[in-house]
Assembly symmetry: C2
Homo-oligomer: 159 residues x 2
Amino acid sequence: MDSKPSFPGIVAASVAPRVKPSNYPEPFASRMSGRVKRALGDCFGLTNFGVNLTRLAPGAVSALRHAHAKQDEFIYVLEGHPSLVTDAGEQVLAPGMCAGFKAGTGDGHHLVNRTPTDVLYLEVGDRSAGDTAVYPDDDLQAVMVDGQWRFLHKNGIAY
Amino acid sequence: MDSKPSFPGIVAASVAPRVKPSNYPEPFASRMSGRVKRALGDCFGLTNFGVNLTRLAPGAVSALRHAHAKQDEFIYVLEGHPSLVTDAGEQVLAPGMCAGFKAGTGDGHHLVNRTPTDVLYLEVGDRSAGDTAVYPDDDLQAVMVDGQWRFLHKNGIAY
């Protein structure tokens, strides 16, 4: 039996896409069509943070606009020109541009592909305990319980 | 006074390089010449993890070969063909390839640029408390104390 360790490096685009397209309840899950996530960090057994390679078809969005209470987030654009929407308005990004979103600011963010070509980017987020998320533009809030997101209306009623 | 929030996105390559080229004691710090790190995550006030844009000139290395006890690490190659050295041997990577290094495995890793052209990659690492690092090829060990690395010989004597 050969116990020699295997080479760790992989081609990111060869990782199988995430099977479940979205964790959101309807009507929000359907709005994530055209978004494909490849969970790169999970491939290596990483648990302290996740790294996804995410592709947005024309018209697709990265997520509902949201802000985390505990989780820092970071994105780096590899291909295409996504629009980054925050309280500041819309900023068109380009390959080689990046942005970070410190937990707790309350300034919601997401990417929207308003172009006729695909967008490809890396997204990083840690897995801090006790996280919650707010969604300024939608009737939604989220609470992390036992490693799973639970989604509620803004009035606290579960979806 | 204009209190409108500013656009968050930035050009990663425009971030100023880290001023201190290396935290290692000599003779190891000098071996990091040709390595330039841009601390992207810090630009946005992120504290749960760091993201660096790191350039390796021909002959440069990413770090001494090392393994963390608590910190997960991840790299994504943007330009060039670094050699990834682990217990498995050497694997030549290419743009679009990535690798992750789960904390606690003890399998040391680093990148070496054995080519005549620059290597550019993103590196991600969390900031878990109580981290330590081992260096299989060098007379060195490291302990994180109050957010600062302290470096010791393998016999426990401080540098």
